[in-house]
């Protein structure tokens, strides 16, 4: 279980997160929706300590941390329990596909080279890239790169995988292959928090939807409730705007 309590974060005077509370059940798939600038990506990055909230606590499994008093060891500990899939993939450019996945296993989790290799190959096969082990990131399409990013996160066996708009940098025809992979691993019971604009995906895959706006959680609940009968005016407006864009495809 992951529990965020009272997370607040400001950049200078601008408050991007205001006392956020969020609980994610083990094995849950949570989708965070919201207009750009609503703070959803910042919230995600706080979980991986890529941003330092000004205030708040986090619990992941048996580990808990108060952001105000975190030391280096705590930060390191927190990062080891979460893994991130980035919008722009952020694969290690100077390493091959296989090495990208092995890197964290060997350096951080102290796997033997053999064990790291077989686990990495297994993960890469899961995302359908078993044939690209020796390629460098620059030789892959965006969709392939993002699938490597997913394999890299998956291999670390984290308590939660954080997806930061994993498909928004992709060409439209490549979105599907990445969503398919995420769908597949969601079914395996891995806890996931996904920031996305893909409404169809959010509705199909998630079991909890959070709608954020201006740094606060406006509304959250089961996907059928949020999409079917939103209570808050802001949520309605947002969904109306978003869904009208692809209404014809329903």
């Amino acid at each position: 279980m992951i529990k965020l309590t009272n997370i607040s974060k400001s950049f200078g005077k601008h408050e991007v997160l205001h006392r956020i509370n969020l609980t994610v059940e083990k094995g849950g798939v949570v989708v965070i929706l919201g207009p750009s600038g609503s703070g959803k990506t910042t919230l995600l990055r706080c979980i991986n300590y890529l941003e330092k909230p000004n205030e708040g606590q986090i619990e992941i499994g048996d580990f808990s941390l108060d952001y105000k008093h975190a030391n280096k060891k705590d930060i390191h500990n927190l990062r080891q329990r979460s893994a991130m899939v980035f919008q722009h993939y952020n694969l290690f450019k100077h390493k091959t596909v296989l090495e990208n996945v092995m890197e964290g296993l060997i350096i951080v989790q102290k796997f033997s080279a053999d064990a790291a290799k077989s686990k990495s190959i297994e993960m890469l096969e899961k995302v359908g890239l078993g044939a690209k082990l020796a390629a460098y990131p620059s030789q892959l399409s965006g969709g392939q790169q993002q699938r490597v990013g997913i394999a890299r996160a998956l291999a670390l066996n984290p308590e939660v995988i954080l997806f930061d708009e994993p498909t928004s940098a992709l060409d439209p025809e490549l979105v599907g292959e990445v969503l398919d992979v995420i769908r597949k691993i969601a079914k395996e019971g891995i806890t996931m928090i996904v920031v996305t604009h893909e409404m169809g995906f959010a509705r199909d895959v998630s079991n909890h939807v959070v709608f954020m706006d201006e740094g606060v959680i406006v509304e959250e609940g089961r996907p059928q409730d949020i999409f079917g009968a939103p209570k808050e005016e802001r949520t309605k407006q947002f969904l109306k705007r978003i869904t009208s864009e692809w209404a014809y495809s329903i």
Binding site: N48, F86, F92, T96, G104, A135, S138, Q139, S141
Partner: protein, 236 residues
């Protein structure tokens, strides 16, 4: 025009004797300079309190003054400092125990350190921020992220500049003659003066340096190709 082509060859053979001195000066100052430069670059990037101001002043001073000054300041200043300290504390160490080449190595390393810190700094800043975030996200510490992810990529970015620094230090090693260290240049002066064939001696010295420079350039471009093979796909 009086020129004795055969003597160029004779001079060349005689200059080879001084080649090891030139190479030692170059390799030692570049190696220490790289370590010093990387340290200074990291201190400045991470804005370590107090130290980053000292580092900035050091780089600014070295870059703002001729290398000859660094050598002469060390050559005349360091003995005063050492003997002063030894005298006050009654230590048995005396500056005349330092070999002449020691002054050259110390001063050139300081020079190389400042110039290379700029090269390394530019290289590190050129590495995309996402790379270090990805390293953090797989659970690496800052030290691991720097060593495994940022520095290898920075190296490939700054390789051409590092090679220029190496060539610069190779050429600059000719200054060593001012403190009576016999490098290729000093040896050329000796050969020239004893045989009264100045032009030929310096042609020989020039050929030697030219050859070494071309060699370094070739090696660099080859290394560049190898290191950059992950950029082949062209997708950024």
């Amino acid at each position: 025009m009086k020129i004795d082509p055969l003597f160029i060859l004779t001079a060349l053979l005689s200059l080879i004797k001084a080649l090891p001195t030139t190479l030692i000066i170059t390799v030692v100052s570049v190696s220490i300079g790289l370590i010093l430069g990387s340290t200074v670059a990291l201190i400045r990037i991470y804005r370590i309190p107090v130290l980053h101001r000292i580092a900035a002043a050091y780089v600014m001073f070295i870059r703002g003054t001729p290398m000859l000054m660094h050598l002469l300041l060390i050559y005349f200043g360091l003995p005063m400092l050492i003997d002063g300290i030894s005298g006050t504390w009654g230590l048995p160490f005396h500056s005349n125990q330092i070999p002449l080449i020691g002054f050259v190595l110390i001063s050139f390393s300081l020079t190389a350190g400042a110039y290379m810190s700029e090269v390394v700094r530019a290289g590190i800043l050129a590495v995309n921020r996402g790379q270090i975030e990805a390293a953090y996200s797989v659970g690496m510490t800052t030290a691991q992220a720097l060593r495994r992810i940022v520095l290898p990529q920075a190296l490939s970015v700054c390789l051409p500049n590092l090679s220029n620094s190496l060539i610069g230090m190779l050429h600059a090693s000719t200054l060593a003659f001012t403190v009576s260290v016999v490098d290729i240049n000093a040896q050329a002066q000796i050969v020239a003066a004893t045989n009264w064939k100045f032009l030929e001696s310096y042609i020989a010295a020039a050929l030697l340096f030219w050859g070494m420079t071309v060699l370094i350039e070739r090696a660099t471009s080859r290394l560049e190709k190898r290191i950059n093979n992950y950029n082949r796909g062209g997708v950024a």
